[in-house]
């Protein structure tokens, strides 16, 4: 059986069920790399140019971990996933960068996905991808259709059950016991976490951010938990036509949850992310207008867990205080109106 390697990084979190279905229907086996760990991060980090962003370094690490476990490596070059909206250069250069950085990589399947070119082009790309496994056009078409259905089912599962992609793919969260997670804890705060899926769901690079917030008593909302159309409407209202395909993940989700009046918002980005340097600023500006507490976390391979936890704790304290609508601590000499001054 032909084995196709799928690195657990970047677009894995959004499209894995579709990819898996497609390859399995064509009689191939999808081999996924293990969740990111130190070895994976370090091996990718060693090979890439220093300025490369963390998710791409992690991606190289995943590719290296799959090198002798598969016959093909599946690395699509994504140019565009929406009309006149494009992707970051690194997604386009990904297959070629992998070839340069990991020369021992097995043959790369690199379909170029560009929805601007129309449906017909996409079909052609899918056929030429499927031809590696079968010469039967009908079978490829069927597999693609199944993959599309799997993707829709995956999306609606996440938005109906309000779960994250990791929970939808792997079942329950892995790390809850480790963090003394009390299953009976009732969340008292609602927090929206926005950012690229490959940053907020990779528990190694963000130090288990979501489980940590849940353990601290917050109900976490991410973009998958909202209907896609609602996110797109929210984004269109704020900025009109998007420039990048993933603007809906950041600006759309940010605007949607700010309007939904969450108690606080955390944006997570990696250091040196080009698109995020612009997009996060739009959301930050909006949060200021909504007077919503906003925390921006910039991650890189050096981020220490301790520093992150302290910042999260401080932020949650602030959100809790704001939620109780207490005035801030003021000097007794300045305020003579008898308001309660201190509360926790």
């Amino acid at each position: 059986m032909i084995k196709v390697g799928i690195p657990r990084a970047l677009y894995f979190y959004q499209y894995y069920p579709a990819w898996k279905t497609f390859f399995e229907k064509l009689g191939a086996e999808a081999v996924v790399s293990p969740p990111t760990n130190k070895v994976i991060l370090d091996s990718g980090n060693l090979r890439a140019v220093a300025e490369t962003c963390l998710p791409v370094k992690v991606f190289f690490g995943h590719v290296i971990s799959l090198v002798d476990k598969c016959d093909y490596m599946f690395i699509p070059a994504i140019r565009s996933l929406g009309r006149k909206a494009y992707h970051c250069s690194k997604f386009l250069g990904l297959p070629d960068m992998t070839k340069a950085v990991v020369p021992e990589c097995p043959p790369i399947l690199d379909p170029e996905i560009d929805l601007n070119e129309g449906r017909r082009n996409l079909q052609k790309v899918i056929y030429s991808l499927g031809r590696h496994f079968t010469s039967d056009k009908g079978e490829i078409k069927k597999a693609a259709e199944e993959a599309r259905k799997a993707n829709l089912a995956y999306r609606s599962k996440m938005s109906d059950e309000k779960i994250t992609p990791v929970q939808a793919i792997d079942g329950a969260h892995r790390d809850k016991e480790e963090l003394d997670f009390d299953p009976d804890i009732t969340p008292t705060l609602s927090l929206a976490v926005i950012g690229h899926p490959y940053v907020i769901y990779d528990d190694y690079i963000n130090h288990r951010l979501i489980s940590r917030l849940e353990a601290m008593g917050a109900r976490v909302f991410t973009q998958e938990m909202a209907p896609q159309e609602a996110l797109e409407i929210a984004m269109a209202r704020l900025i009109g036509k998007p420039h990048w395909s993933f603007e809906v993940d950041v600006i759309g989700a940010g605007e949607y949850y700010l309007e939904a009046k969450v108690d606080g918002m955390i944006s997570v980005a990696v250091f040196g992310c080009g698109p995020d340097s612009m997009m996060i600023d739009v959301v930050r500006h909006r949060a200021r207008e909504f007077k919503a507490p906003f925390l921006h976390l910039s991650l890189d391979e050096h981020t220490s867990e301790g520093g992150l936890v302290t910042r999260l704790e401080a932020f949650l304290d602030m959100v809790k205080r704001k939620k109780k609508e207490c005035p801030l601590i003021t000097s007794p000499y300045l305020s003579g109106d008898g308001r309660e001054r201190i509360c926790v």
Partner: protein
């Protein structure tokens, strides 16, 4: 309407010339003061931290233009992958927060370029008749081509001149003369005069300078402030700088020849194909291709300029070491933290390496 523009190399000269031709006073066309440390500080202070250097510099220019009273600002815009498409939107927001109520006009640099630029000029000058606009445009472009022509000679002269700094002095005089010229004929005369002067600069007859090609992201390659005058510094070290990229070339091809189906980068893209199959936005594809082309053409080294966190150039940087052609590449990342002495040290070490390689090759 008071129009302000950001700086980008010598672009202000043709723009100013066109403005004057169309009868705009200094109040109507505001050229901000030359990019300075203050410009950079302003840009850095008000930009998102991780924005790229061109964003910060142009924002600084626009703030300075607003301080002089500009209410309409021109900014480039490209469709596609790079951050450029976001510049105008984000800068408008920042200026608005600063209390400047400026209106942005974006100039699309990836589609309908020629018609777009002419229409923009027409809009700016209250519908002047087309013949006048076209002759104005020709005049402006004449200045641009003249500047680039002189610059090419300067790059060669700097490396071999006996009295260091002479060529650069003439170059500065030439820029001033071309800037002040009011007629097409005057521009031509000044070009001829200064090219002649440069050719007469005393040169070291035995000099055989190392040849370095500069590739990378167009803004930092062409803006001397952004790249800390890297060409001048290389000239001082006795290096002949050559670069394919220039504004006049960009204008020539993308406005006139690309619509006719002539692609100046065709050869470069073809040789880049085995390593990078597709356009990754910005100038990433060209950087990879140019490395290979220049290695084959017998250059001694390549200097790859990119703004810090530039996405297309990071792709190029990752791919460049894997090419078969063996040529040293020095990657210089430009940002607000860059300091001139640090850069000069790196250049000196790089040039030593190139000279050593040359010697080894001859033995």
């Amino acid at each position: 309407m008071r129009v302000g523009i950001p700086h980008f190399g010598n672009v202000y000269i043709p723009v100013k010339a066109m403005g004057q031709r169309l009868g705009a006073s200094d109040k109507e066309l505001i050229i901000p003061p030359p990019t300075s440390q203050r410009t950079l500080n302003l840009g850095v202070k008000y930009s998102p931290v991780e924005a790229c250097l061109p964003f910060k510099l142009t924002l600084g220019n626009l703030i300075e233009a607003c301080e002089l009273g500009a209410d309409t600002l021109i900014q480039a815009r490209g469709t596609g992958i790079c951050r450029l498409g976001y510049y105008a939107r984000e800068q408008e927001q920042i200026l608005h927060d600063l209390g400047y109520d400026a209106h942005f006009i974006t100039l699309d640099v990836s589609h309908h370029k020629f018609a777009g630029i002419l229409q923009l000029i027409k809009r700016m000058c209250n519908d002047a008749p087309w013949p006048k606009i076209i002759s104005t445009f020709r005049f402006g472009m004449g200045k641009l081509f003249a500047l680039d022509k002189i610059e090419k000679v300067v790059q060669k002269t700097r490396a071999v001149e006996l009295e260091k700094g002479r060529a650069n002095q003439i170059y500065r005089e030439a820029i001033k003369a071309i800037d002040e010229a009011t007629e097409g004929k005057e521009v031509k005369r000044a070009t001829k005069e200064y090219v002649g002067k440069l050719n007469r600069v005393p040169k070291n007859p035995k000099a055989d300078p190392v040849k370095v090609s500069i590739v990378g992201e167009i803004f930092v390659v062409l803006d001397p402030f952004a790249n800390m005058d890297i060409e001048l510094e290389l000239g001082k070290l006795g290096v002949e700088v050559r670069r394919t990229m220039s504004l006049s070339r960009w204008v020539k091809y993308s406005l006139f020849l690309n619509p006719l189906g002539i692609d100046e980068w065709k050869e470069v893209h073809k040789v880049a194909m085995p390593y990078l199959k597709r356009d990754v936005g910005g100038d990433g594809w060209e950087s990879v291709g140019e490395k290979i082309v220049h290695a084959r053409e017998g250059y001694d080294g390549i200097i790859h300029l990119a703004p810090f966190t530039c996405m297309p150039e990071i792709v190029a940087q990752n791919i460049m070491p894997s090419t078969k052609e063996d040529i040293p590449v020095l990657a210089v990342l430009c940002d607000e933290q860059m300091a001139r002495p640090g850069m000069i040290t790196r250049l000196e070490a790089f040039v030593d390496l190139l000279k050593f390689r040359r010697k080894r090759g001859r033995i």
